[in-house]
Symmetry: D2
Subunit: 376 residues, 4 copies
């Protein structure tokens, strides 16, 4: 029977402990790590900060890669915290270039660079960075820099392997692939990152790993966690494993492929210029002449009650972004693409029809759909 609705001053009872242990173990399987994962009652930006303050000292140099708007925000955040940053410039149409990172590290003979920061799935562009290749480039350079990766919009949507790929800190959030409201964020850590923490001198308390990891060992948290979101997290982890993580990834890949087929049929261009960097969770589309995206978005919102992502900063009004992540199935995608196609027409944007048909040809293909049968 449900407990009486009495005030619970103390959230340290055995029931909570069971939940804590379960989600702290379960979240590791999502990051594919055997090491601990920190769970913060904060949005993803907080986990960006946590990754930096636990591993670095004032004035340390971070090599960051300009994949797009969010990489730029992370760089600004690092600078506000008193870190020095160096940006490898990008064109916002590719993921990070592992070769360029490797070359820069080889040039850094006295190991001034302390961390390499890369965004896995750049939400502003729909380009995925090749994390494994980045780690190999660091290794080939024989450089001791830590590798910090943002998976806020790829975790549980796009294949990611914290341990296997040798990432030191992976930053994640609750509101995309985990299908939860915003309010939880994560740091998956390597042994090397835990070691770095011991000498890292940036001041930290809320974000500090040490005390939290100690409390986590018993399923508890050092301060009030976002209890209700933890219940949601518990359910989300179970759902992801019920479908199978590989099936979830395959589904997103199919949806990305179908979306790109639609874009091609419309005669438009996908922002991401490198096929191996295409994102399974969102697709950014270039407007003809690189303008008018916001007018199009407004028409689609007004006419079809659907909100598309805007182009941010450098690509403002030049692109619109189609999300296909989280709790999303084939027919939702068909409806979404139908809304875009009708919107292109209503807005008078030059395009060819047939995008939805092209997407359906991909979605209806038995081969790509085979994951469903396997999963059930």
């Amino acid at each position: 029977m449900r407990a009486i609705d009495m005030p619970t001053i103390d959230h340290r009872g055995p029931t909570f402990q069971d939940l804590g242990k379960r989600v702290l173990a379960g979240i590791r399987t999502i990051f594919k790590t055997k090491n601990p994962v920190l769970i913060y009652p904060a949005s993803g930006t907080g986990a960006w900060e946590a990754a930096l303050v636990n591993t670095l000292s004032p004035g340390d140099l971070c090599l960051m890669y300009e994949t797009g708007h969010f990489a730029t925000l992370w760089k600004k955040l690092a600078e506000r915290l008193g870190l020095r940053t160096e940006f490898i410039e990008g064109d916002w149409r590719h993921g990070a270039d592992a070769k360029a990172i490797g070359e820069r590290l080889q040039a850094d003979t006295n190991h001034e660079i302390k961390a390499v920061c890369v965004v896995h799935n750049e939400t502003s562009t729909g380009c995925v960075s090749p994390i494994k290749a980045v780690r190999e480039a660091i290794g080939a350079a024989g450089h001791p820099a830590l590798l910090l990766v943002d998976t806020i919009s790829s975790l549980a949507s796009i294949d990611y392997r914290h341990d296997e790929w040798g990432v030191d800190v992976t930053v994640g959030g609750s509101q995309k692939g985990l299908m939860l409201p915003p309010g939880l964020s994560f740091n998956a850590v390597s042994d090397k990152a835990l070691k770095a923490q011991e000498s890292a001198k940036l001041p930290r308390s809320y974000w500090a790993w040490d005390e939290m990891l100690a409390a986590n060992e018993n399923g508890f948290f050092t301060y009030t966690p976002a209890t209700n979101l933890l219940y949601g997290l518990d359910a989300a982890i179970e759902m992801l494993h019920a479908e199978g993580l590989e099936n979830v990834f395959a589904r997103h890949q199919r949806h990305g492929a179908a979306t790109r087929a639609a874009v091609e049929a419309w005669g438009l261009e996908v922002l991401c210029a490198e096929p191996t960097h295409h994102s399974g969770s969102l697709t950014a589309v270039l407007m003809p002449d690189r303008k008018g995206a916001d007018a199009l978005r407004k028409i689609i919102l007004d006419r079809f009650d659907m909100s598309l992502g805007a182009g941010l900063s450098k690509v403002a009004d030049q692109i619109f972004r189609i999300g296909h992540l989280g709790d999303f199935n084939d027919l939702t995608l068909v409806g979404t693409l139908g809304g875009v196609e009708m919107g292109l027409k209503a807005a008078g944007v030059a395009h060819k029809s047939g995008g939805v048909d092209a997407a359906m040809a991909v979605l209806g293909d038995t081969e790509t759909a085979s994951y469903r049968q396997a999963a059930e």
Copy 2:
């Protein structure tokens, strides 16, 4: 009609903006301030950190008052951030002593102390600090220190006036008087605090006021807010004003008085030794001989499915805490006290019966109940 369940990459639409403006304005009425209030997607500990990093520089000295466990935790947090702290020791049975604070400040002739930190309602003891008197003591000492106050367990339960009392930063949280799940926390700020921010040198980004306040002016946030909790906050503010804040405070006062009447009838002692410091949101009770509280709590949890607050650190096992805050009415309190009285008996704790009767005498008194009629 409900919008289709399409992915919303961009949380910057006009609907969200309306909500943002409404809660950012509404939360000011709860703190009783005309100045801005920062809303963090974080638990209360984060807002403690925010209050410090936005106003202070490394090595700054904070005068803190040991009201109990949570004041001690705040002190440790300040130290981890690189601040120096000085503790005025307390006996955990009183709120802060304004006179002692004033004397210490008068002795600080070269104004080494940069901030005075006080917990309004100390959750570990049920003692309320006289914030107005503390501010007056600072003023009488002619001292420029900032006054930072924690209202995490008193906001929207116990009378509090950020502007009128001249507080510089008030720290609050969502999960007590606002009746929401944990996951939102607040900084209400004074002009003086905003000024201090300009020269404060502790590194900060997630907690930084400046960019967030700029975005807040248009109803937006600089990073993903805890959207669903903001909807809850909107509703909570409306509910509090529907009942009337003064009525809410009076209700808690009545419940505190009724609980103390029960404790007295049981022949037990309330931890808070100063009547003017009694809390309206929770009451801590001393065990006879200061031991056995945890055994009692376990019996009450097992037998009556009710979780009482534990004694923390210095008073571990010596006390138990009865919460009476949030969505709580007279009959819930009678049930709660009934559970304690039956538990005392079941646990073989020396006590007199009649506690529930004594509480009912207070609750049934028409005078104290008059707020209800006024409110309806």
Copy 3:
């Protein structure tokens, strides 16, 4: 503040009364009647029974029209209650034929027929009967028979006017246009029906109008109502008026037109053979060679997790039914039709592609979409 969760033996308090009065008044606006509407805690079949037992006597003759499966079920129900029935046979591809009804009534010179029963929107076929014409035919025949109409799947989706069209009893349900779970059903009544009740001799108690109408005058019910569904009904009525009933009807008409455009593009045939009888809430589609519908439905369910309506009894396996009613927008329809088109291909059903495109041409047309702007 929320009331304590105390047991409510008596559901006759003032709060409930307010709700009762509000929904009893509001539901009249949905049926477009100034007369009372009975609200039963029962599914639609119960309201069929109620319409008959309150107005007829054992052995009375009912003239019913075979529009499809549900008309046939209503006829069987009438017979089980001890009524005599006469069926005007139909081909399941049209609504009721007002002329045929008129001719039969003119032949019934001694007025043996006591009631004419017609289904407005036949859920098994997607054909709408012309109720106004039926009433005119009864009038032209100078026949005193009552007109009983089933609107279970048309209420709040397809234009319907109880008073203006002179219907005597309109039967409705909660689970279609009102977007609620099943469990509520309705009888809207005319003065003539209320008069008939006085001499109707079929035994009745649960369904009896007289006592319920007396209690309803004060907002109460003679026995326990489905309280939680009444709260939902209250909200549903408000939502319908917020969008505007005429806009709701227009939306369904557009969705019906778009669906039929898709069917035509596929080279398939809509079951409803009479354009003026096309339904705005669902479209039944004939399979080539009238077979294989169930295999198709299974493939669509397995592959795309979408459940289409089956062909019932006479048209089993010959048709599938596409619902487009309730909380349904343009993009949901595009997704639905996409699922059908991909399913036709996957199942190897002979068809042409281009159905979704054809539907989008209808949906994207500014003229037909104009209601949105008007509504907002």
Copy 4:
């Protein structure tokens, strides 16, 4: 992954079938019968009607027992359906008198009486009828009458055994012991009742057992069931078995005993005058001088936001009723009784204090509480 929110015209899919089979099997365990139980989308009054129309013919004589208001309503319902009734008068302070029933049946030598109708737990009085004794009296009289029993407010709260006690039709509802909203009701049937159905001549369709039982064999229903309530029923059955039905009964017995101890301490009188007939799910209390109950109820509602049951018809204003059934624990009961005690004082009703104390003495008693330990 959650299915897309597509319209489900057809509620006959395999998922629904699983649920149907599960609840149709599970509900038998609650009635303690191996025979089928019919589940109606209707409130309890509908199941009263169903019990009669399936087993009886127009003009059949029912022997009913006047336990209180609800027995009287059932009698009126029977009369409206064209049955003849005979009432054994009661004083509203006892359950049915098995001896009186037996004597009447013995006098009915030509077996004119076709059914004996008894209310198990009379909600208007808090008296429980001895069903086993009634069945034995029927048997001792050698009379073939059916035994129909109403358990609307006792099912899943008070010990009841359909098969063992030889009941022919048991009527139940969803909104009391099953802790669901109103909207489902039940008929548990014996073989004898099923046999009687074959010759019973009252017209019936919605309530007819035969077609529904045939459909139920495959987990389906002949017409739209109250789907969402069936999901709730599934959960409720699981919860009841998790606690253990015997533990649920014992808990209600304890709460009844504690409530009566409070009434006695107040110096008031429990309406039920026969100790073996005391109800575990509700207790009716006589006002001193048998008046003023409604004024008292109003004060308690206004002051403490708690709604007590009113005295109905013959005992209007003479009694108030305290419910203690469904999702109710010891502390909720203490709060409830506290509200009554404070209300008695506020209303100036002559009484002694100490009722809550007396109830706590019962609730705190380890012996009676032992079920908890056993259950966990």
